[in-house]
């Protein structure tokens, strides 16, 4: 945050230029308290985005809620006269044999991805914060997985994890390990998508945690070193505790992002084989769009459960962030 979005760093040059072209303010104007701009002007600037939010966020969400509360078929979906059935779709979803596995997979996927992304990201952030030759360049290269289109990452991993011709099995073979059916065996598919997703998520953790590390004063480390603290002690006594606010934010944002991961799983396994890598996100899509006979109602119901989960963690995130902003 400190480097680029923080306005003052950037602004110094443009501000000077801007000030040169604008006439210096007359003294009385500056002395007078700045009158608050008329509200209508403020809201005129906000009107487009407000309208946009209503039309393209609130309305789709409302339509989704409506979908989940009616008994839609393909015909009534087009004609728009589906009968209201209340929470029937939610009951269907809860009774579905896929519900328990999907819940378990969503929890596992999210928890395992978060732990590894955070741990690897933190280790790399600490490593890269020791200044050495090329450290800035290499750190930038670490961003690549995060910038690639998800379909590119997912299809590359698919081919790397291919049972017969994949490079991962070839490497295992070289080490004398039997080949693994990464994507086609129900006991490995979830692991495979988790590995790919960790790879994509590490850069985000690295960058955010790295910028958090920059705000820990170097003098603390120097003092600790003088007192004879080793590297390991310095990490657990200084870095980790002082990084806690940034860690909380990183993990919460990661949680919200990971809950809604869809592309990777869908492209690599479609949630299969036999639902072995199905999460709420892929199940919802599977119900709504994955079959010849779409089940829009239950699909929307699963989606709405996901929205509720995301918003609960979102509210926690906002609360934590506000508390940190105040302190």
């Amino acid at each position: 945050m400190k480097q680029t979005t923080h306005p003052p760093d950037h602004l110094s040059a443009p501000v000077r230029n801007g000030a040169a072209t604008v006439a210096p303010p007359p003294a009385p104007a500056r002395a007078r308290r700045r009158p608050t701009s008329p509200q209508w002007a403020a809201w005129a600037f906000l009107a487009p985005v407000t309208l946009y939010l209503a039309l393209f966020y609130a309305y789709p969400l409302y339509r989704n809620l409506d979908l989940s509360l009616r008994d839609y078929t393909v015909r009534s979906f087009v004609q728009g006269n589906a009968p209201f059935t209340g929470i029937e779709n939610y009951r269907t979803v809860l009774d579905d044999p896929t519900f328990a596995p999907a819940l378990l997979h969503t929890a596992l996927f999210t928890a395992v991805c978060l732990v590894f992304q955070y741990a690897i990201g933190l280790a790399l952030a600490v490593f890269f914060s020791r200044h050495f030759r090329l450290s800035a360049t290499l750190r930038a290269l670490f961003l690549v997985p995060w910038l690639l289109p998800l379909i590119v990452s997912a299809s590359t991993w698919s081919w790397m994890l291919n049972s017969d011709s994949g490079v991962v099995n070839a490497a295992l073979h070289a080490l004398g390990i039997a080949p693994v059916n990464w994507l086609t065996s129900p006991s490995w598919s979830l692991t495979s998508v988790i590995i790919a997703n960790i790879w994509i998520g590490v850069p985000f953790n690295l960058v955010v945690l790295y910028s958090g590390l920059q705000s820990i004063p170097a003098s603390l480390y120097e003092a600790a070193a003088l007192d004879g603290a080793g590297a390991w002690q310095r990490f657990w006594r200084i870095t980790f505790p002082l990084l806690r606010p940034v860690s909380a934010i990183t993990l919460l944002l990661g949680l919200i992002y990971t809950l809604k991961v869809f592309d990777i799983i869908w492209i690599m396994t479609k949630g299969g084989p036999a639902d072995s890598s199905t999460t709420f996100a892929t199940w919802s899509y599977q119900l709504g769009f994955g079959n010849l006979l779409p089940a829009f109602g239950p699909g929307a119901a699963v989606g709405n459960l996901l929205v509720v989960a995301a918003l609960v963690f979102g509210l926690i995130y906002l609360k934590v962030q506000r508390k940190q902003a105040l302190s």
Partner: protein, 274 residues
């Protein structure tokens, strides 16, 4: 300095090793894109494209150019729409102190947490009744939802740093709010415009969920669907698939090389408070 470099060379070596490990999938994508068909199923696979072929890229030129063109149009459209919506909003939230601005800020943050497939389903229902399915403008609007809340956040943070005296001076010179925004605030916010544009373009270029739901099977499909159809057809020409993936990754590569600092800024924006 020399002594220092001498002591840290092993860190550089370790750093290089870690980076190589992390970027191996990217290398592998390039390697496979150059592998001829007959070597594709070879075991063990060739680690280097010693018998490299450009067949995969030739296929891309023949089959994927329309998809790439569509993605470019959609990306640029998303950028224009995102800037047009989020820059004025950022200005109002940062400088004009609207009543209820806090609520709007909250709504924007909450909006970013809604999973994409839920939005896609809602858009599908709406576009179906409006007849907007399989239309490029429809996809642009949907893709812009990925970037607009982020854009407002960046513009608000950035424009808060513009000194109030400057705006006051413009006002004293007789400039209205619109004039001030257009001739003073916007030119000064060039960095924010660049950051938001980059991410808006990258996100819409990379979008798969909206494309798969809203324009699947249409006359104009983006490159993400081009790749997806390749895989879905049980295509065995993995060199062509990976060549398409390499081409689809080019914007990300260009952005990383030319605008690295904006990227780091975008990743950390909002995540870290100083």
């Amino acid at each position: 300095m020399n002594r220092r470099t001498g002591r840290t060379w092993w860190k550089t070596a370790l750093g290089l090793l870690l980076t190589a490990f992390m970027l191996f999938p990217v290398y592998w994508m390039i390697n496979v894109s150059l592998t001829p068909d007959r070597d594709m199923r070879k075991s063990p696979p060739d680690l280097f494209p010693t018998h490299g072929t450009l067949d995969g890229y030739r296929t891309v030129l023949h089959e994927q150019l329309p998809y790439l063109g569509t993605s470019l149009v959609i990306g640029l459209g998303t950028v224009v729409l995102t800037i047009a919506l989020s820059a004025p909003a950022g200005y109002a939230l940062a400088k004009l102190r609207p009543r209820g601005g806090g609520i709007l800020n909250f709504v924007l943050l909450a909006a970013q947490m809604i999973p994409g497939i839920i939005m896609a389903m809602g858009f599908y229902a709406i576009y179906l009744s409006l007849g907007l399915l399989q239309s490029v403008p429809g996809l642009i609007v949907a893709d812009s939802t990925l970037a607009v809340p982020f854009g407002v956040l960046i513009f608000t943070a950035f424009m808060s740093g513009i000194p109030g005296e400057l705006l006051q001076a413009a006002k004293t010179d007789g400039a209205g709010a619109l004039r001030t925004f257009w001739s003073v605030v916007l030119p000064m916010s060039r960095n924010a415009v660049v950051t938001v544009s980059l991410f808006a373009f990258l996100w819409s270029w990379s979008d798969f969920v909206f494309a798969g739901t809203l324009v699947n099977g249409g006359a104009h499909e983006p490159i993400t669907l081009g790749i997806y159809h390749y895989i879905g057809n049980n295509n065995q020409e993995w060199n062509a698939i990976m060549a398409t993936a390499v081409v689809a990754s080019l914007p990300a590569a260009v952005i990383l090389v030319l605008a690295q600092r904006y990227v780091a800024a975008g990743v950390t924006a909002g995540a870290v408070k100083d």
